[in-house]
Symmetry: C2
Subunit: 194 residues, 2 copies
Amino acid sequence: MERAPLSSSAVIAAAAELADAAGFEAVTLSAVARRLGVQAPSLYSHVRDREALLDGVAARALGELSERIATAIAGRAGRDALDGFATAHREFARDSPGRWQSLQRRAGDAVVRSDAARHIVTLNKAVLRGYDVPEDQHVHAVRLLGATINGYLALERIGGFDHSAPSPEVSWRKTVQALDALLRAWPTDPGENP
Amino acid sequence: MERAPLSSSAVIAAAAELADAAGFEAVTLSAVARRLGVQAPSLYSHVRDREALLDGVAARALGELSERIATAIAGRAGRDALDGFATAHREFARDSPGRWQSLQRRAGDAVVRSDAARHIVTLNKAVLRGYDVPEDQHVHAVRLLGATINGYLALERIGGFDHSAPSPEVSWRKTVQALDALLRAWPTDPGENP
DNA sequence: GGAGATCGCCTAATGGGTATAGGCTGCGGA
DNA sequence: TCCGCAGCCTATACCCATTAGGCGATCTCC
């Protein structure tokens, strides 16, 4: 175990790798310290406590996710952009399950207010530009998109689809198609007043 | 602390109450034992280990949720049934946050194969009866419904909507409305072949 | 009605986790 | 050269899960 000099971001990077390899709940200070060839208390020079470590992983994950989304929707619009957006999420969850999980918990202020968080919202709205959803409905559409995509991935992760046919893959495509149809014909109340 | 005689279901009931009061992650054998006025190791006569305890809470929660849904959609169809279904989920998550959280993790076989689990699927399909979704599309629709509703509640719980207006309540209504519109005009591929 | 088996709780003890306090060391700057 | 300190270490306290084994009350069976 060669020991590169520790630093806050090295510790967080190790935690992120561990999360992907062994599950988010396996991210303990002890385990990260072992992985770094160091004693657990040594980490407290670099992260305030376990919460901060987990928030660090979440912040990093958010950045990576936003990059993936950005390249996935660049130069696309409408259905293509939606596909890219959804696929980016799904592949992120598949490739980096631990980092993805790190996003499924209440995060600290630093994470919420991060550039990455803002960036994702922007990208989300960019997808909507390809549809005719009225401006004042964008929040709702963003929330719906997030809820459905995240919810689907969460259900898939906990095995909610393991006990019925067909494969989650098929329903996933159907789900994205449904979201496309929905955005294409966004329902409007008579006398809507957001 | 008067001590009612312990039993497997008494232990699980205490765990469920604790989950609602202090959060699902606070459900530890020690805490449950304290709440029951008993030493922690005593619980091992009634639950195999912590996993089993958590699964027990999930099974119980699933039963309660299915009851709520059943009464919420009884005698209703179409949009009314969908509203009832969605609202039942949301009120369950509001009234029993810990129990609701217990359902957001991979559950043991006993839970997955329980009557309650089967019941919920049945109720889910009952909602679809009020719409013209083709039979072979029901799985997809059930999965989409589950993903969106659960996903919305999960995002709401972790505070995903806390940093933008308007209130989650408004988007929730909009979301249910969107689901209704979607089921009403379920998109079909040319040459679909599930 | 009594002897003993059994059931259900207890105490003791282990191992791993978070977190704090304080020691030692080697490197950089004056 | 020598001092300071940054960064890792050991020691320690406390919490939690889990196993082993003890002990008393109750239940059973004769």
